[in-house]
Symmetry: C3
């Protein structure tokens, strides 16, 4: 099955439901950049795609960075003087600052406050905080709860461990005809936060599941990695594979109600950038394409100047631009099956362009070939599609001088890539085009 | 006489009248892509320019195409049961589908209707239809007449012939100083339709007549050819001449009330494209410059990727954008002498740029030369023209580094080419410029 | 002291006062393109900077030009029949057309009128007129006075001399680390006109005074020259030095209330053009950047095609765009200390960019280096400056591939150059950047 067939057979509702269900399933796990929460998550994903699990030992040097100690947590709470667990890790893993060191102590409210984090502007939400590279501890809670804390002694308890261990990530390479690769990368290090980035994790897994059976031109490499240190570790341990990456996208924040946003690679005009912009432009819904900036997700690493890979980032509302970002309100209500399905289809359409994009050479370059005698004109009477198909053929014949790709032609003709692709297939089948593989 | 002198001596009213009269004279002939209607038309044009007539035999292969059989028609009609010629070729040659095969038969209204063409949206107009490459027959009529046809037996009669013969076209090469050529191409295959394209045919002939006596830098080649197959045949039989074509325009639809439209060549930034855009921009009337698309007139062939000639298309309202297009309403009322004269002058002004455009080298490139001591400053007192002339001189001196043409300078200075040309002539005459012929 | 230190220590009010005072001091002198008025002016400037005075003899050929005779004037007036000096050089040196030949004659009003110049649109103002290259004489007066002249005999008296002498100009080269030069050029040939161009003259002198003590990368060459013939003479006599000029600005009309205007060099995208545009853009006040045109001040000569130097022009309201231009109303009321100080600071900020602009190479080009472990992250808590500094570091690391300058990065990041410069210094000090001197 080709990707074109997949696209015409797919049921958006079913896909949206599948992705949403997977998010729901992995939502409760307490993930961080290392630890068992990640392992449990990857185990679930294995039900969808044959994931290979990698473990990199703490202390391993990866470029300028070092794999940190592994962090695990069993329980944590703050108890008031009546022994009540008033801040309780069991009710939300966001309550504990990620990478908090173990502690078990009684302290005054004043002392405790130095370790409490709240969001005064959103007094009902619990913030999400981490401290990966500085050993400390802390609790997060709603500002309203914070305001009601009484001036008494509190028992602070965190049953965590920070020890030599491993950084865990998942990898799935879907083999295509060639060893040229398309990279799909998502960060899987956030705890119970849905849009950022269980949406990217679940969507990538379901993408892999649906694409598994396809006959593909490119190989597709799916990475489920902790943010920053994960992509750095992968790049470090796979430097020999890096030149194979011809296109790539970081997938994040794909389930909210916002419009689709594509952030260009550092190159700015890579094929993936033009393919993604084309799909968004022809999606008949609002969208935004933004330039690369060296802040965001793992595209920061893929696009560092020593790699400068053609890797962009597909999102809906970008990180930091929606109020629920990095709070307990980024929950199962924020992400919607419809948005997830829409993002999923856009990914597939982008891949469809990558799969189908080629440079052809018009074999009758002097004057137009006579299309009528080859049955290439649509039925008389001027049906809309027939007119578009004929224009697509004329554009392809005119621009197929060996230097324009079909995507170039789609842009120049201002037509959907799929119309151009279908017309090119028809012309090639009649012997009017030959591929320019240079 | 130089083209500059012609432009200053020309009387627009007289030119408009001349072109209009010629349209009127050739309007009645029943032209098609082959046949005697074309021959009669070219015979008339010979009264204006020394046209060479070419005849290419049916069956000749020209690139991917074959010269079709020659079609001629003497008479045609549909008679009702009372023997009345209710659809009559003698009243309008549009009534018969071009290239209709001969027929003489009685048939029911139901059968006849399969061969009738109307325009329901313009119920009083007769459409123009052709069937060059599929042997069939048909009649065109107004939709109102069609609705009134009674359900009876009709005698259908077409006295046409479709036989081995020739494709006929006219060619006139006006020799200039160099063998570099400017191509002017118009399609002469439409029957009684005025704007499309007797306007182009008549305007080209009158252009040739007025330019005959000029002393010209370029040679100007005028082609009067049937659309598509005519330009293909010319390109095929003149492949050795093609490299001489340095600039060119297809002339079509030049007589309606609409604003001038220039369609760029496939190259998009050829000298002809910039010259035409410059003339339209400085014409003080509304205009449009549009990008090349591989649909339209014979620029499709000239701009096929194997030739990629710098040939654009000058029109007023483009084909298909005015309701009368390809109907009996494209008649002598649609075209106006004023529009024809305006189009004619724009052609001449475009040629004036081609003739005058050169690269100069400032012979005093270090600092400005002193213009005052050479009498190159206008009268004191700041007359508007003197200021413009001085600015033109300063621009030319500043940009004549051997890489900018006068047209480049006109664009950069945002001044009319003629002001720049006059200033350059003055500077050159004082020895301040030398031509860079590289 | 570095230019950065100067900029942070400078007091705008004091600078504005200094420049204004200097203008006031040299305002009364009767300057022209040659003569003692220029010498007196340069003598005053010597109190600020160690000016070298050059004298080029009349008759010297400089490219296409010849150094004119030297013009001096002691007195001039027009007396009425009652012997009253009704037009009196002693009250304003603008009353006499510059380069007027000596005369002493009685004549009728009718004859006299042929030598009188007024401004009917501004009837109270005296125009400024010159006749350098045509030997004649004339008086300028207000139109109101002109209208009141009685029809009688007038005594016309000009005690001027036009003899073999010299063209005088001042030059100051402030030596930097390298022999690469920044050219600062101002025309010093106008008599009692403040904005055009005592503002440029005085501002340049005070710039030199303030910069004298700096430790600079570039050498700065200040030219105080008569317009046109002065820059031509300098270029002619310094052709060997011209290749050292890496950047430059003509300074003129810098004291009026108008917004700052930068006119690009002929190159259009030279470093000086981008530096000046950057400073104006980040100045938080209205501004304009305009393309080069071959009219204006001495940039006409520096940007002639044989030199094509990267020299722009910094102004406030450009010449000819304010009504007081070249009239007696361009006086001490038109220029303001605030505007002068603002122009001065913009010059320094432009030089700061030239001084600080470099290409770096990220020494950890593969993935981001870990900034945290080097203490390069600002205090936690998200202060605005800390966020900007971090973004600046990420931009520099991402774009420092050896091809982008810091100014390129400032543009791409849309951040003030100074923020980028400070971040680059911090990164370089931590060993994360090395300069690419290629």
């Amino acid at each position: 099955m080709k990707i074109d067939d997949l696209l015409s057979s797919i049921e958006p509702e079913a896909v949206g439901r599948d992705i949403y269900q997977l998010i729901k399933e992995i939502y409760p796990f307490g993930r961080s950049i290392t630890g068992d929460g990640v392992r449990r998550t990857l185990d679930i994903l294995k039900q969808y795609i044959p994931l290979e699990i990698h473990e990199i030992p703490s202390g391993t040097e990866v470029f300028d960075w070092t794999i940190p100690k592994e962090w695990n947590i069993k329980d944590a709470c703050v108890k008031n003087s009546r022994g009540e667990r008033i801040i309780d890790f069991q009710t939300s893993n966001l309550h504990v600052v990620s990478y908090s060191i173990p502690i078990n102590r009684i302290m005054s409210l004043e002392k405790l406050k130095q370790h409490l984090h709240t969001l005064p502007d959103h007094p009902d939400w619990i913030p999400y905080r981490t401290s990966y590279y500085k050993e400390t501890w802390g609790f997060c809670l709603s500002h309203n709860q914070f305001l009601n804390l009484e001036d008494e002694q509190y028992e602070v308890f965190i049953d965590s461990s920070l020890k030599e261990g491993h950084l865990t990530y998942g990898e799935y390479c879907l083999q295509g005809e060639t060893s040229d690769e398309v990279l799909i990368s998502c960060h899987s290090c956030h705890p119970s936060l849905c849009n950022d980035n269980l949406s990217g994790v679940a969507l990538s897994a379901i993408l892999g599941k649906y694409m598994k059976a396809l006959s593909l031109r490119y190989s597709y490499r799916f990475l489920f990695i902790p943010g920053t240190v994960g992509s750095i570790a992968w790049l470090y341990t796979n430097e020999n594979r890096v030149p194979r990456i011809k296109h790539g996208m970081v997938l994040a924040c794909l389930g909210d109600r916002g419009k689709s946003t594509y952030k260009r690679s550092r190159r700015g005009n890579a094929e993936i950038d033009r393919a993604a912009a084309h799909v968004l432009k022809h999606s008949r819904s609002d969208y935004e394409v933004v330039d690369f900036i060296p802040y965001g997700y793992d595209e920061r690493q893929y696009c560092s100047p020593g790699f400068n890979l053609p890797v962009g980032c597909l999102m809906r509302t970008p990180h930091g631009r929606y109020p629920e970002y990095h709070t307990s309100a980024d929950n199962l209500d924020l992400v919607r099956p419809e948005s997830l399905a829409d993002s999923f289809l856009k990914c597939l359409k982008i891949f469809q362009i990558l799969e189908g994009n080629r440079k052809y050479r018009n074999r009758n370059p002097r004057c137009e070939p006579q299309l009528g005698k080859r049955g290439l004109y649509g039925a008389l009477g001027g049906q809309q599609d027939a007119v578009a198909d004929q224009m697509a053929m004329l554009w392809i014949l005119n621009l197929s001088d060996g230097s324009h790709t079909l995507l170039d032609i789609a842009y120049r003709a201002n037509m959907d890539f799929r119309t151009i692709l279908a017309a090119a297939d028809a012309l090639r089948d009649k012997g009017l085009l030959e591929e320019n593989k240079e």
